[in-house]
């Protein structure tokens, strides 16, 4: 069963850490994380770099990235998507979990 995690919290929040830990676990996979709202700050957080290097699929919602002036700082491994792709992404995973 694949799971898409929706994270809207800044990386300093406990829920953000729990989301990363759950999505990094090998059980109940494969996993992916969509960063949205304030969750897009996780994209530029050093603690999240390892997950990206480990191959965890990470997406970030374009309007929220742009609203927080993070476009130029986004790591190349994180794919920016719009709302159409957000909807499509939720259909590609068996489960969708919001943190």
């Amino acid at each position: 069963m694949s799971t898409l995690h929706l994270l809207n919290k800044t990386p300093d929040r406990e829920r953000a850490r729990q989301c990363l830990a759950a999505a990094s676990a090998s059980e109940a996979g494969p996993h992916g994380i969509l960063l949205l709202e304030n969750g897009v700050f996780c994209a530029v957080n050093p603690d999240w770099r390892q997950a990206l290097e480990d191959g965890l699929p990470l997406w970030a919602l374009t309007p929220d990235v742009a609203a927080r002036s993070l476009t130029a700082r986004l790591p190349s491994g994180i794919q920016q998507i719009d709302y159409d792709a957000f909807v499509e992404l939720t259909t590609r995973f068996d489960n969708v979990v919001s943190w």
Binding site: L6, N8, K9, T10, L36, E37, N38, P63, D82, Y83, D84, F86, V87, E88, T90, T91, V96, S98
Partner: protein, 131 residues
């Protein structure tokens, strides 16, 4: 694809109503169905007809109500969350002898069972919560 939408973040203190509406609009544009929108916890503030933001700011009550009417989507406000936050329709206002009410069509006050059945009937239940 059938979507059910759960909103637990309030307008003006969270981005949840904005994100959820953009998601719903994109889903309908793709040809997907949104079978029910359910407001729970602080999310019920979205259904307050007396919400009056400055005219140069987004009016989330008006934008959501217009979309719900346009797409003919069921819009449910959790009764237990609503009443304790002062969100009340005409019927409940009569029952509790209140002089006013602030929940009107297209929003309906109902129980948590409507969320459970939406989760059963939809292919995906997407939750938009506070930050």
């Amino acid at each position: 694809m059938k979507f059910a939408i759960l909103i637990t973040g309030a307008p003006y203190s969270s981005q949840a109503p904005q994100t959820a509406l953009s998601f719903c609009e994109a889903a309908r544009k793709r040809g997907d169905d949104v079978i029910r929108v359910f407001l729970y916890g602080d999310g019920v503030h979205l259904a307050n007809a007396l919400s009056t933001p400055p005219s140069d700011e987004a009016n989330w009550y008006r934008r959501w109500s217009a979309w719900i009417e346009q797409e003919d989507v069921e819009a449910i406000v959790c009764v237990a969350s609503a009443l304790r936050r002062g969100l009340i329709d005409e019927r409940e206002a009569g029952r509790y002898e209140k002089a006013h009410f602030n929940v009107t069509a297209p929003w309906q006050i109902a129980g948590l069972g409507e969320l459970v059945s939406a989760g059963n009937d939809a292919d995906r239940l997407i939750h938009f919560g506070p930050a």
